[in-house]
């Protein structure tokens, strides 16, 4: 028993090492004084300083800042839209009395986008947007098309998270609210929404992370001025992997960690 315990500890350590060693390496090399390459020259904060530098004087700092702003804008807008739509989708699927066979079909259908490879969705979007461009300039390559593209895959994730919470809640509380004279609106904002809130926040968080992280769909739908960080990193490493990219990545990881911790705190309230 004790021997197995030791083995399990080793397995956990190896697992964590595999997960975090690359991130640590990136963080470490972001403090390397050398401009590129994997040779340690000395400790320096110059790359962080350069990121903060005046965009007017440094073209590179300007590009990185633009890409960061694009990424955040894309993430924020697509997350807000997909959270609202995904929550509505989950509520509609769960609360409407669908005939059981149709209900099952809907359940399966909602899971398909989650497991569909990004490249397939991206290709489909390119084809679709090429047609839709004639209807509206929203579908021209660029920020609006990217937002629509992200929303299309985020919705399924939000709906999945929200719906599992709805399933867990069951129909009884909803019936109790109706039995106690609640109108649809009162029912929604006094019972459904407060109980669903942690799942909605969780779904939004997941959607935001996925958007931040996405390369494939952004790559296929972006325009000349709407490059995001993943796309920028991809293009600039073709010209050599420069140390300032490590600094950007490290900041990105830090941002994500802070976000996750904050939201974990927010959603931990009152477990029943």
């Amino acid at each position: 028993m004790k021997r197995w315990g030791g083995l399990l500890q080793v397995a956990v350590l190896v697992g964590f090492l595999l997960l975090y060693a690359p991130l640590l390496a990136v963080a470490l090399y972001s403090f390397n004084a050398a401009e590129k390459g994997s040779v340690w020259v000395g400790f320096s904060l110059r790359w962080y300083a350069q990121l903060m530098a005046d965009p007017e004087t440094s073209r590179r700092a300007w590009e990185i800042r633009e890409a960061t702003l694009n990424t955040l804008q894309l993430g924020a807008v697509s997350t807000v839209i997909s959270t609202i739509l995904g929550t509505m989708l989950a509520l509609g699927m769960q609360r409407f009395p669908w005939p059981s066979s149709l209900g099952k079909l809907l359940q399966v259908t909602i899971d398909v986008p989650v497991i569909t490879p990004d490249i397939v969705i991206a290709a489909a979007l390119v084809v679709g947007f090429n047609l839709l461009r004639f209807v509206s300039p929203l579908f021209d390559p660029g920020m609006s098309a990217m937002i629509i593209g992200h929303v299309t895959f985020q919705i399924a994730f939000v709906a999945l998270v929200v719906r599992s919470r709805l399933v867990l809640m069951g129909p009884t509380l909803s019936e109790a609210a109706r039995d106690l004279y609640a109108s649809s609106w009162y029912h929604f904002h006094r019972v459904t929404l407060p109980l669903l809130w942690p799942a909605i926040v969780g779904g939004a968080m997941l959607a935001f992370t996925l958007s931040l992280d996405d390369f494939v769909i952004s790559f296929f739908t972006c325009g000349p001025s709407s490059s995001t960080l993943p796309i920028y990193v991809y293009h600039s490493q073709l010209r050599g992997l420069r140390t300032d990219l490590f600094a950007v990545s490290t900041l990105l990881v830090m941002g994500t960690v802070v976000l996750v911790l904050t939201l974990e705190r927010l959603t931990r309230w009152k477990r029943d």
């Binding site: 109790a176 109706r178 039995d179 004279y181 609640a182 006094r190 009152k270």
Partner: protein
Amino acid sequence: MQTSTTSAPASEISLAVEHIRKSFGSVQVLDDISFDAHPGEFITLLGPSGCGKTTLLRIIAGLERADSGRIVLAGQPVDHLPANRRSVNTVFQSYALFPHLTVFENVAFGLRSRRVPQAEVNTRVHQNMEMVRIADLARRYPHQLSGGQKQRVALARALVNAPEVLLLDEPMSALDAKLRAEVQVELRRLQRSLRKTFVLVTHDQHEAMTVSDRIIVMNRGKIEQEGPTAEVYERPRTRFIAEFFGAANLIPARRSGDKRVTTAVGELSVRTTPPWESGTVAIHPEWIEITDTEPAENAVRAEVRDAIYRGDHVELLMEPGSLRVQVSPRLRAEPGATLWLCLPVERLEVLDD
């Protein structure tokens, strides 16, 4: 003691269920159910799981739609009204308290959703919390309550709305046996003091007998028998009822004449002439009398095969007829003893089937 703002014109019938039918797919759950409930009456829908009793309750509450038939509340048909516009409230089986609201907010929910002024909400909520003795729990959340306390909150949350009819869906099934017995007595007392119509759903015949004025026994979507509590227990009309209440001796019999049957324990007189050639008569073990001398009518000479001591009574297993007889522990009847039994005509029921 209830501050009733919604008192409907007093009518003789507070709830009428008329010819309700309901199917789920090809399964007919309710088949032509009708009954009336009078103001201040405690009615129990009793039956095994799957007999349709909960579905019927949900149809009355408006949480389910009947395929056909009518529900009339205080003289007004309510079939077209959704659950949130019917003057009925439900105590749910799992209580269904809102976990994110305090006890006070839970109880106040029905008043607030109808925009009752805050001052009135406060008075009525406090009155009702005191009535079920949960006033000191007002600021707790449901996860901080015991099962019995949750049940009281659910009761107060429903009663605060002064509904025409209170529906209770197996509200005591989650409580332990001792607490359940206490709550039953208390529920009965509460209902008497409020003079409201209560409709309880349960599968527990003891619970039904403890609380009800009238019991409606359901089986496979139909009403098997309905009547005052003692009558349903003492005068079962069908084999199902006799077996469901558990205790009765079922004696196979053949009709042998006018109000006469032949059985394994001999020739017996009964109150009514059986509608069948061969069927069953039933008698509860506590109604069989033990006599020193041969009784004048329905006498059976039987031998004690086994005596089971139950504390407050002794159950004798006797032959012929595998009769179960309930006697006082003061009467010492050892296995092997032969006794005279009397099966009183008044207590011998001819079952319909």
